[in-house]
Subunit: 393 residues, 2 copies
Amino acid sequence: MLEELAIILIFAKFFALLARKIKAPEVAGEIVAGLLIGPSLLNLIQTNDFLTDMAEIGVILLMFSAGLETDIGQLKRSGAKATLIATAGVVVPLICGTILYMAFYGFGGWGSENFIRALFIGTILTATSVSITVQALRDMGKLSTEVGMTIMNAAVIDDVLGIIVLTAVISLKDPKANLGIVVLKMVLFFVFAIGVGYIIYQIMKWVDARYPHTRRIPIIGLVLAFGMSYVADRFFGVADITGAYCAGIILSSLDDSAYIERKMDINSYMIFGPIFFVSIGLQTNLKQIDPSVIVFSLAFVAVGMIAKVIGCGLMSRILKYSKDESLKIGVGMMTRGEVALIVSQRGLKAGMMDSQFFTSVILLIIISSIVTPIILKSLYMKTDAKEKAQAAS
Amino acid sequence: MLEELAIILIFAKFFALLARKIKAPEVAGEIVAGLLIGPSLLNLIQTNDFLTDMAEIGVILLMFSAGLETDIGQLKRSGAKATLIATAGVVVPLICGTILYMAFYGFGGWGSENFIRALFIGTILTATSVSITVQALRDMGKLSTEVGMTIMNAAVIDDVLGIIVLTAVISLKDPKANLGIVVLKMVLFFVFAIGVGYIIYQIMKWVDARYPHTRRIPIIGLVLAFGMSYVADRFFGVADITGAYCAGIILSSLDDSAYIERKMDINSYMIFGPIFFVSIGLQTNLKQIDPSVIVFSLAFVAVGMIAKVIGCGLMSRILKYSKDESLKIGVGMMTRGEVALIVSQRGLKAGMMDSQFFTSVILLIIISSIVTPIILKSLYMKTDAKEKAQAAS
């Protein structure tokens, strides 16, 4: 076990740094590390129960952090426009992804297993990961423009919507699932989360006021994350990461939320995060990939990117943004990242997705992360040139 | 798995805080939490492979941190006196512990399994954990006195000696082990550690100078800790924690050693540390304790404490410390802590110790940690009163 950990961590870090050098997301580097040391190539490490459990903790920590980072105030203020853009950016990819899968692997009838698998592929396409876009906008000094803020706000709401879609789709895994009951359980869970969340928030606020910046704060946070994940999965049939995300949101308004997040972050990047991303590489055996999956993957990448541009871009246009701005918003929302992987992982675990499709998701992440900043920059350069020309004339 | 983690972490933290309230070591609180939720009482959690692996990582992190904290400069300066005191403080408890075990469970002949088990009980008694004493001396403003510094220095050397004794004794686990080969392997490992250590230290120094305070520094540190642990155990038959400790010492002179230690510490106290200490409680079933073990435990506590006072005290007296000072040094070295547990854990794993004896070790830690500060304070109060009386007369 110790040698496994040593190998995983050193390869993950090395490839993450390499990825950063070529401006690709570090996560992609870690996955490549997993492909390299896994059954696809060197076969140094095989997945096992221990690594699966560690990766599981990694996902929980990642989603808990995502919840902690949520700015509920901003969510409330960002209002109608961002919500509508986010909704279109979730619905269009969901539908397009579902249709794409059915185009390749058949329909099978409403509610059939095949249909649910198709729905799941659509679900993977819903989650925008905006960090690459934010970085690109920041580099160009365009982050605090209206377009920049709209993208950021829409991405936050996109996260929440994405988790709701995932929760609903995952709950369908039970063959006897009845959509009514599924929705009821989801609603019950959110009611539970709000109720318990309110009580816990009040307690934590009191603890935090008395003992700010003490170790007990992040530890109780972690316990809440693990506890909520367990309760979500065990008693409501809701994805455990939904529980972790809710735990994060509950604590996101604490004075010490940034303190908790920093501690989680260290645990994440030192051990659990790399194990999670590497283990995705380990679970993908490139040698056994079906040729149809390769074709599918390319279509998946194209559809995934275009669907976001269409969904968000059209809605922006409807909301009276200029053609130019609408395109930028659409392109900015194209990037996918960790969350798409987390969602896929859940699907694999629930038996709703074949591990082969990891390849598609990995490709989407790598390509969208590399392409988006390039397109964004060229769009801004064009606008800036136009504005300059107008100013000069 | 998630609910296990939530339960373990919340109980561990609660009992650690409780222990701190009554001035007992937090570690003792965490063990009590394990006894409470384990088979001894509530039976909420049973040990399993996952927890064992997590606890293993916990031990590695603890020993790596201990190595990182080693001040090699101080070690060199502290010189002959502290070394002699530490040596006596290792040898006397080692012999007394061995004899004690044989008094209860028979001799069995030199090199017999029983003899090695007896030797192992002696080994557990060698490791002083000076943090409680340091805290007590600091509270009284006596830490930077000559007695205080002697205790601190002797404790550092005691750690190194303890690990050497452990390494030697653990290597005896192989029934065909030949003392010559055992010593040879140990020497080879230390030669290897020094050689590889020197190269790695130079590389890390270069990395650290170029990229100070970046994430790669603690991650490479962690990889080194896991790697050295693995190599020690796999190729030299040396305890894995010896490898982790050496990894820590190798990096202890880096500019960023404190930075690495801080990151390790967060990983330790958030997850792995509590799991390690709780799992010791989980492995101890108080319901199945043999009555003879209870009597043995009481004797073990008494012998453990007295042997340190005699070993360190007598040697201090020989080195011309006053009777008063010698007694204080002896008493100051009495406390045991994490390291004794780590050693026992290794023994259990190697089949050299029965899990029942955890009770003895736990008792020793709790009692020595509570009693030592009390005795130290009364000794200092007596001296202070005497000095005052002399000054007044």
